[in-house]
């Protein structure tokens, strides 16, 4: 019974994840006074890509071929481990929130290798930058969770869930987490999913050589990762209301904020991202300090 619900929950999350991306895109276009692609466009894209033949580089090895599978596996595994529609159902014995962060790192490791595998300059550039940003994002990522866990008294996901009341420490750590989320999901101040301009792309450069089903898997993994991170954000750092209904409302609200940020801001220069991520790290340390002060 429990297993069924957990799997159902993960399947629901996977099924809903492209919708969030579509929603953000649609809202962005609305703000820009454009009509934009339909809400369900990400689903169409994935179906279309699954229906296409694949072309791969002659220089590449099996790493290039297995990387999309590893990436989607890590995303789905993270979906299995994290709370979403039915938060009271959890797999026990799979560790804590740190484990989820490390699982994402595994997917990224292989994507970065795949970027180098084709021997294209773009791929290498993308890998280098992706690893650069993620390495700098990691401290803020972990310490913001650390701060929230200190308040909860444990790092286990189920003990993080009940949340508490809004405190300064929670707001600081939540903001730090959100800044990292934007970086991890290749959102605007750090990266831009919409551009394929050679010199500015980061995540897209890394997966430039992919086509067909592999690209579909990578895109789907991106959607899932985004929704998993959003779920963690709303459960741990926004302790308002409970139940599936509230969960959906909160996710949509955060997605809307993301869309507004994407429209309002420009992408930063690569080396400005350092400041951005250090700010996030300092914010998370401030959260720990605030927690100790009891606010």
């Amino acid at each position: 019974m429990k297993i069924t619900v957990i799997i159902l929950q993960a399947v629901l999350l996977i099924a809903a994840s492209p919708f969030i991306s579509g929603f953000i895109k649609k809202l962005k276009n609305h703000i820009r006074m454009r009509k934009g692609a339909p809400l369900l466009q990400p689903y169409h894209n994935i179906v279309k890509l699954f229906g296409k033949d694949e072309t791969i580089s002659k220089d590449s090895s099996y790493i290039f071929r297995i990387a999309p599978y590893v990436l989607i596996t890590t995303a789905v595994a993270a979906a299995l481990l994290s709370p979403s529609f039915f938060p009271s159902f959890q797999i026990s014995g799979t560790g804590d929130i740190f484990v989820i962060i490390f699982i994402f790192a595994l997917g990224r490791f292989f994507t970065a290798l795949a970027g180098l595998d084709t021997g294209s300059t773009f791929g290498g550039m993308g890998s280098s930058r992706e690893m650069f940003i993620s390495a700098l994002a990691e401290p803020a990522f972990l310490v913001s969770v650390f701060a929230a866990s200190l308040a909860a008294g444990n790092t286990g996901i189920s003990s993080l869930l009940p949340g508490g009341v809004f405190k300064i420490s929670l707001v600081c750590s939540g903001l730090a987490f959100y800044l990292v989320l934007l970086a991890e999901t290749a959102r605007v101040p750090v990266d831009n999913q919409e551009t394929h301009l050679e010199l500015t792309m980061i995540h897209e450069a890394m997966i430039l050589e992919y086509s067909g089903k592999s690209l579909a898997l990578i895109e789907l993994a991106g959607h899932i990762k985004q929704l998993v991170l959003l779920s963690l954000l709303v459960y741990i750092f926004i302790p308002v209301g409970s139940g599936t209904g509230f969960y959906i409302i909160k996710i949509v609200a955060v997605a809307a904020v993301t869309a507004i940020i994407e429209v309002a801001l420009a992408k930063m220069r690569l080396f400005r991202v350092v400041d951005y991520l250090i700010f996030s790290f300092v914010l998370s340390l401030a959260a720990v300090t605030a927690f100790i002060m009891g606010v």
């Binding site: 002659k58 490791f109 970065a112 180098l116 290498g124 720990v288």
Partner: protein, 614 residues
């Protein structure tokens, strides 16, 4: 002078047995590996010489960990240092190797000097060189003396372990030694420094002040971040691994520093947990670092270079080596569910539990949160470093002629690599039973009663905090990953049954095709890091354009160097001063007999006065 008679008895307590196990775990595969590795590289006489040296080197390391008398310990220690010096300089026809050996032997003796000083200070109180006598004396030492002894031990054992700022010998000695020696040095010998530290500081001297632990934590985190940053800048495969050893020693010392801090915070349970996590990382690092050095040795043998910029495409030519290196790289970058991840996760849990527990130490919480952040940074940089190492050396096309003919080495070299790769999985998946053994080891040596049951939920699960429901079953985690992978693979296979896969050239922006010169390089890969961390790395670059005319650039030269912060601002000035002092003191040696007779006269006068006075 009776006590100067060396007591040759061995003692086997849990800690010694653990380190003995680590040494053998590294030494036996390296021994097998060396048979294939040395063949063809050295003459037969030299191979025999190297084998004998290797045997005695391992023996001396075992004697260090099993000795129960300080004099015996020192003799074995010195033997270990000297034997490894000869092994480092096995390629003595190369100037680089002898220079590396010189730096190594100098630094290791600086360490030994401090160690001996510490031993003699304690001896002056105890009158005996026995470990037990030492331990009893240390309880009664005045606190200033204790601090001095502690600092001497930090320098002494820190030098052997390669802790920053005493690390400078490591990036010279490890890459220049033959690969099987590098793997033993990195996998086992630097751990002897850790052993000495645990034995003498933690269990003989005893932790008497909170700041001791804090000092170790700070040095540890500096080693971690610094080590991996320099590793990331490195394009020499073995040098990169040597720097990464510094990082891992930092992680191990983080656990040991945790023990020291938690003892003073009155958290014995946590202290045991912390030290066990450090020991777990010790054995894990021994496994994957040995493996990675073996892989780079295999590359060095077949390609003749260990410069990443000249490698590439090796995954197709040497698939076994590539796979082993990949697993090693994944493990050292703490990717679940491999062993490196398990120990790093445990260290992370240590820091978190410490922050949670120390209600009366609010500053400690912020400090531990900061350490967590820096530990996360280390993890991120390590992942970048090993993406670079694997991606540049093994993937894409070959970058030089010599690499094109590379092939996998013989079975004597492959078998130990495959064995160690298997161990990475085993130590990752069966983390809980292994960790339980380590907990028992620590609690039996330290006398702090905790019991392994406190941290294991059931046979396969780790539970870092015994009052919570959170536990990690690495077999379950592994199972989830594998089942998900298989399911997804099957689903994708079914829905894309009719689709074809064609091979074509990499997209070259419409140009004919890309060549290996378009591939990203190691230097290029680490460029963002070089810029972002320029305040530590102090990079300097040189651009040179060779022109036909004003408009046409014929060739382009680009050089980039990073500086070693400590070398520039500490070791170089110190060495300069030393030489200047030596120059100055040469004035004493005039060569004239009259002046020498004058010296003798002065000395006699001095002695007479001295004897009268005292």
């Amino acid at each position: 002078m009776e006590s100067f008679i060396v007591d040759w008895r061995l003692s086997f307590d849990a800690l010694s047995i653990f380190f003995g196990f680590v040494i053998l775990l590294v030494a036996i595969p390296s021994w097998v590996y060396s048979i294939g590795y040395m063949q063809g590289l050295y003459s037969r006489g030299r191979i025999r010489f190297a084998k004998i040296l290797f045997f005695f080197f391992i023996l001396s390391m075992l004697l260090v960990v099993f000795s129960s008398n300080v004099l015996f310990f020192l003799i074995a220690w010195e033997l270990m240092s000297l034997l490894s010096y000869f092994l480092v300089t096995l390629d003595s026809h190369e100037e680089k190797a002898s220079r590396a050996g010189l730096i190594y032997i100098l630094m290791t003796h600086v360490g030994t000097t401090f160690m001996t000083a510490a031993f003699l200070i304690i001896y002056s109180y105890s009158g005996s060189f026995d470990f037990i006598a030492f331990k009893e004396t240390c309880l009664l030492l005045p606190s200033t003396i204790k601090t001095v002894v502690f600092l001497c031990f930090v320098v002494g054992f820190g030098t052997k372990a390669g802790l920053i700022p005493f690390h400078i010998w490591l990036p010279y000695a490890h890459p220049e030694a033959p690969s099987h020696i590098s793997s033993v040095m990195s996998g086992a010998m630097i751990k002897i420094g850790v052993y000495g530290f645990i034995r003498f500081v933690l269990f003989i001297l005893g932790v008497s002040e909170l700041w001791w632990g804090n000092l170790i934590l700070v040095l540890a985190i500096i080693s971690s971040v610094g080590g991996i940053l320099y590793a990331l800048m490195e394009k020499d495969l073995k040098k990169m691994l040597a720097y990464s050893s510094i990082e891992n020693i930092g992680l191990i010392m983080l656990g040991i520093g945790g023990y020291m801090v938690f003892i003073k915070m009155n958290q014995p349970l946590l202290a045991v947990f912390s030290l066990a996590a450090a020991l777990y990382h010790t054995v894990n690092h021994a496994i994957f670092k040995t493996l990675l050095f073996m892989c780079s040795g295999a590359i060095l043998k077949t390609c003749g270079t260990k410069n990443m910029e000249k490698l590439g495409g090796l995954i197709k030519l040497m698939p076994v080596t590539a796979f082993c290196f990949l697993i090693g790289a994944l493990s050292i970058s703490a990717m679940p569910p491999l062993n490196g991840f398990m120990s790093e996760w445990l260290i992370l849990q240590t820091l978190f539990s410490g922050a949670l527990a120390g209600a009366t130490f609010p500053k400690m919480k912020i400090f531990l949160a900061l350490l967590t952040g820096l530990l996360a940074l280390t993890g991120g940089l390590a992942a970048a470093c090993f993406v670079k190492a694997f991606g540049i050396s093994f993937l894409a096309g070959t970058r030089s002629k010599k690499t094109e003919t590379a092939n996998d080495s013989g079975w004597t070299m492959k078998a130990p690599m495959i064995f160690l790769t298997g161990l990475i999985f085993i130590f990752g998946i069966f983390a809980a039973p292994v960790f339980k053994v380590l907990i028992d080891t620590v609690s039996s040596v330290s006398g702090l009663n905790s019991g392994g049951a406190a941290f294991t939920f059931n046979v396969m699960s780790l539970a870092p905090r015994n009052n919570s429901t959170m536990s990690l079953n690495s077999l379950l985690l592994f199972g989830i990953l594998v089942i998900t992978e298989v399911t997804i693979f099957a689903v994708v296979k079914i829905i894309t049954k009719k689709r074809t896969v064609t091979c074509a050239h990499t997209w070259a922006c419409g140009y004919y095709r890309t060549t290996e010169r378009n591939q990203y390089t190691s230097t290029g890969f680490s460029k963002p890091f070089r810029v972002a961390f320029s305040f530590i790395l102090m990079p300097s670059r040189k651009l040179e354009k060779i022109r036909d005319s004003h408009y046409h650039v014929k060739a382009f030269k680009y050089e980039v160097h990073t500086k070693q912060f400590l070398n520039e601002y500490f070791y170089k000035p110190v060495i300069k001063r030393l030489f200047r002092f030596a120059e100055w003191s040469r004035k004493l040696q005039q060569g004239s007999v009259h002046i020498y007779i004058g010296y003798i006269f002065l000395a006699i006068v001095f002695l007479i006065v001295f004897l009268k006075r005292f």
